[in-house]
């Protein structure tokens, strides 16, 4: 089997708090494996240890016990981070640089070859949809734009593993959908993505596998479908049935030995509804503008 992108074994992290050697256990005996070219979600409420786990993976914190490897290299080594990109939780950058200067700066820090820098910077800025605002100062950016430029700086050196800490926190649904689309694109390009979130609905359709943390402990881990599927039930979504026909169907179900568990109207998630509406208006707006231009 190929080396996993991330391999965490029996990881425990205690923080010393206060003077009298009091300890807070932020992560407890965690074991995880993230395979290559996988979108992996680290889920859990606030304070469940997601950021702590991520920082240990990146070698920013030292594990109290247990160990952690990135593509087979201990994450304590600087060398392990050579092909890793990281977007911190609510990122903050040097305010006086423009977006483009910032991405360029990190590209040089990551030793992107001189000949390739311009192309690399342009392409990630385009990927995150920041081309228009790229020459404005980072200090003037909105939350969503900071998140996007943060994503750009994490991708500029073409990392194989991308780690995103709460990439959609504080971003509107439109922005979140855009970020989700970028993550899918990265997967298509063969990258591995680890992302953390407390907004479960947003990552449901995105992650291949998820792990759920609670108070530092692993509660569940597995493929999203396996976790949420009701194994013993199926739903039929039916249209254009009158009352008589429905009674006939119900009778037939009974005759076949089934049991009608519940009848409900299928609902769109609010997120999906919002996106659909906004998208429709966006198209109307554009066609209207085009119409005006023609006149």
């Amino acid at each position: 089997m190929a080396t996993p992108a991330i391999c965490i074994r029996n990881l425990t992290k205690d923080f010393a708090i206060g003077m009298r050697g009091l300890k807070l256990r932020a992560v407890e005996d965690l074991c995880l494996e993230v395979g290559d070219n996988e979108i992996f979600g680290l889920l859990g409420p606030n304070g469940s240890g997601k950021s702590t786990t991520i920082k240990i993976i990146l070698g920013l914190l030292e594990a109290s016990t247990g160990n952690c490897e990135i593509y087979g290299k201990p994450s304590k080594l600087v060398d392990a981070r050579r092909r890793v990109g990281f977007l911190p939780e609510s990122p903050y950058f040097y305010r006086y640089l423009t977006g483009r200067e910032l991405v360029r700066y990190y590209a040089r820090i990551c030793m992107v070859a001189r000949a390739e820098i311009d192309a690399a910077v342009d392409s990630v800025i385009k990927l995150v949809g920041m081309t228009e605002a790229a020459d404005r100062r980072v200090g003037t950016y909105s939350k969503g734009m900071l998140q996007r430029i943060g994503l750009a700086q994490s991708l500029v050196h073409d990392p194989q593993l991308v780690i995103l800490d709460e990439p959609t926190a504080g971003v509107d649904p439109l922005g979140s959908a855009a970020i989700a689309e970028i993550v899918r694109e990265l997967k298509r390009r063969g990258k591995t993505i680890l992302l953390s979130s407390h907004l479960l609905a947003q990552v449901e359709g995105l992650c291949d596998r998820v792990a759920i943390l609670h108070r530092g402990k692993l509660v569940r881990e597995g493929r999203v479908d396996d976790l949420v599927e009701e194994k013993d039930a199926e739903s039929l979504v039916v249209q254009g049935l009158n009352a008589e026909a429905r009674a006939a169907v119900e009778a037939e179900i009974k005759a076949q030995g089934g049991r009608l568990a519940r009848v409900e109207k299928p609902k769109l998630s609010l997120d999906a509804y919002f996106l659909k509406e906004v998208h429709r208006r966006e198209i109307e707006h554009v066609t209207q503008q085009e119409g005006e231009e023609e006149l």
């Binding site: 990146l58 030292e62 050579r82 903050y92 040097y94 040089r108």
Partner: protein
């Protein structure tokens, strides 16, 4: 670890550190105050010091350089370090393939570059004022005072500036050392000021040492004298600028420079020992 790559990263980090510093109001206002103070020394001319006036202006200027330079070095280095920690830009940086020693060295060099700017501006202003007063004085008193074309050796003004700058380097390095284990801005600044005073008064320990009998107390004082650099070494201003016979030997200047570089490097390395295990 590739050395040229390492230098590139250090240069980049030092560059942003420096840029961030010169954009702060604090630096600019301190610079203006210092210039104003150095310039204000000319108002004392009503006392008509004669050639003593030049000496007064020089001492005043050197004093202002040391005083404000020390304040700036301590506060700016602290601020630059904690800004990076509190804004979590250090998190983004250290999640990249960047060694913590590169980060610290970059911070140090950025602060040191800031001090170079400060020192240069002050010494240029001081030299300008000295030149102006010298011209006025010569006009009034005639040329009989002159032995070799000028009353003042301007090169020495800059030499003094350079030595002060080396001293600011040590200060910046020990501020980083204090910051590496402290959690707050204020604590770092207070402890650093205490260290500055100790280094400034360190010659007292040396004097005591030479007067002491052998014993553990003597070893203790010797130890203190080695841990804390002796800042008096850098104040050779009295011999500079005016005294033609007692111009400092080149080897002395090199020795002091080496002494400064040694302590700066030592403190940055000590900072690294703490910083390596620090949780970002």
């Amino acid at each position: 670890m590739n050395i040229t790559d390492s230098f590139t990263r250090i240069r980049l980090i030092a560059g942003t550190t420096f840029l961030e510093a010169v954009r702060q109001k604090f630096f600019n206002s301190l610079l203006l105050i210092s210039i104003a103070l150095v310039a204000s020394s000319t108002f004392f001319q009503q006392f008509d010091f004669g050639t003593g006036e030049l000496k007064f202006i020089t001492d005043f200027g050197f004093g202002a350089l040391f005083f404000f330079g020390s304040i700036l070095s301590i506060t700016a280095t602290t601020q630059l370090f904690f800004n990076e920690m509190e804004n979590r830009t250090a998190l983004t940086m250290l999640a990249k393939p960047v060694y913590k020693l590169e980060f610290l060295t970059g911070k140090f060099l950025g602060a040191h570059l800031l001090m170079l700017c400060f020192t240069l501006v002050i010494t240029v202003v001081l030299s300008g004022i000295l030149y102006w007063r010298e011209m006025v004085l010569l006009e009034r008193l005639g040329n009989e005072l002159l032995s070799n074309g000028s009353l003042i050796r301007y090169g020495d003004v800059f030499l003094f500036g350079f030595l002060q700058w080396m001293k600011f380097g040590i200060i910046a390095a020990f501020v980083l050392f204090v910051a590496s284990f402290s959690n707050t801005n204020l604590y770092t600044i207070v402890v650093s000021f205490f260290m500055l005073i100790i280094c400034q008064l360190q010659y007292i320990a040396r004097d005591t040492y030479s007067g002491m009998e052998a014993g553990w107390e003597r070893i203790l004082v010797l130890g203190l004298g080695l841990i804390f650099p002796n800042f008096q070494l850098f104040n050779i201003g009295d011999q500079l600028v005016f005294d033609v016979e007692k111009a400092p030997a080149v080897s002395t200047v090199f020795q002091i420079t080496g002494y400064g570089a040694f302590y700066s490097i030592a403190f940055v390395l000590l900072a690294q020992v703490n910083f390596r295990r620090r949780e970002i």
